[in-house]
Amino acid sequence: MDGNMFRSVIMATVSVLLWSNVLYAQDADSVEVKQPKEYVKQTFDHPQLINTQTNEVLPERTWMFRIQHRFGAIGFDESFYEDFLGLDLFANIRLGYSTAITKDLMIGVGRTKVDKIWDFEAKYALLKQTKDNKMPFSLSVYSNMGINSDEAVEADSTLFFADSTTLFVPKFAHRVNYDFEVIIARKFGNAASFQFTPTFIYRNLAEPGATNHTFALPFSGRVRIGMKSFIVFEYAYVINNRTKDFRDPISLGVEISTLGHAFKMFVSSTDQLLGQEMYTNSSYDYTDGEFLFGFNITRKFWRKKKKKK
């Protein structure tokens, strides 16, 4: 994908966002008496499932703090107890802060340990599933820009671009990677919710032999097992840039959720925390018994409504 096409994708996304508002406005003008739509609530309780985003955006006047922690990888061998479930090994962590801007738009910032990545995210709830099923699913768009702030690779007479002839010259843009997602979700009563998330990743500096763009098709969901507890799962099929022995990320766990908190404990085949990294790097080989433990803690806070004078 060249620069023009990349700009076109961004423009198309922005256009969809703007036109959706215009169409809603026209719709509202043309109907004199309109019953308020009853939307399906809490398809997922929080904006993040395990590694993937959900269709949920933060409600107005809320902000959220997130801790995502992944322990080191272990297997069904002595590492299981010698490394104490992976606690003794290298871990990856992301801290995130997000806030609602409007009732359908949230933005956030996060910091990941590996590669010292600062990321900036935005999510917009474009369509919402209605109880009368006239709108059978919810659709949100999500974008994330990650900036690697780790030590820079320095120009060197032995480093070249992938053509092997042009001397490598590092630029700021090489540190920046993008993640664009369209999240299509549906809640099936109170029993289960599933979502499908076509994802487009753009890395300014691709690994030699890989293309700058990567497409992935994550499928994820949760199934209720108690009043506030769920089984959660994720699987993502990465379409291109699959190197030899590439393994797709897969995760399975439990969620205990309240209005303000969500605790998720799971096993996963990936310790990457951002789509830009998760879908462009192979996961651990779960077919060979390699996996890791992880948890997410999410806490929402509410701001008081301003009193009218």
Binding site: M1, D2, G3, F6, R7, R70, G72, A73, L89, F90, N92, V114, D115, M145, D150, E151, V153, E154, D156, S157, T158, L159, F160, F161, A162, S164, F168, K171, F172, A173, H174, V176, N204, L205, A206, E207, P208, G209, A210, N212, K244, D245, T270, D271, Q272, L273, E277, N281, Y284, E290, L292
Partner: protein
């Protein structure tokens, strides 16, 4: 400032690749210091999982003796590091992640930079000295 950030945030490149300079074993020019360059990588990226009480100690004062001309525990009779010979060195294959000897090192999300890989590769090509 935000506009400047976005204007400089898009490009389409691929790389970098490390192409080592041809090294003559009779050449006395050594560019890599084990103590200052290689050990620094081990301290920052490897020692956490390869501490003093482990199977492979990559700590200061131990790492060279545990690596050079020592058989790899899981890939015997292949050597962890064979001086002047990257293809025969298990460590080299581990860091470039060519799947020849199992898990890449370091594992998972953690990766050596291309520069760190270049330092280790050059160190092996220059004879894997304890300098």
């Amino acid at each position: 400032m935000i506009m400047t950030l976005f204007m400089n945030s898009c490009t389409k490149d691929s790389g970098p690749v490390f192409i080592p300079k041809v090294h003559d074993p009779n050449d006395s020019i050594i560019t890599i210091s084990f103590a200052e360059d290689v050990q620094e990588i081990f301290d920052g990226e490897c020692w956490f999982c390869h501490p003093a009480n482990g199977d492979l100690d990559l700590g200061i004062g131990m790492s060279h003796a545990e690596l050079v001309n020592v058989e790899a525990a899981n890939y015997s009779p292949n050597m962890r590091v064979v001086p002047y010979d990257t293809a025969a060195s298990v460590l080299y294959h581990k860091i470039i992640d060519d799947n020849l000897y199992g898990l890449k090192m370091p594992p998972g999300a953690l990766n050596l930079t291309v520069q760190e890989k270049a330092i280790i590769t050059t160190w092996i090509l220059e004879g894997a000295l304890d300098n």
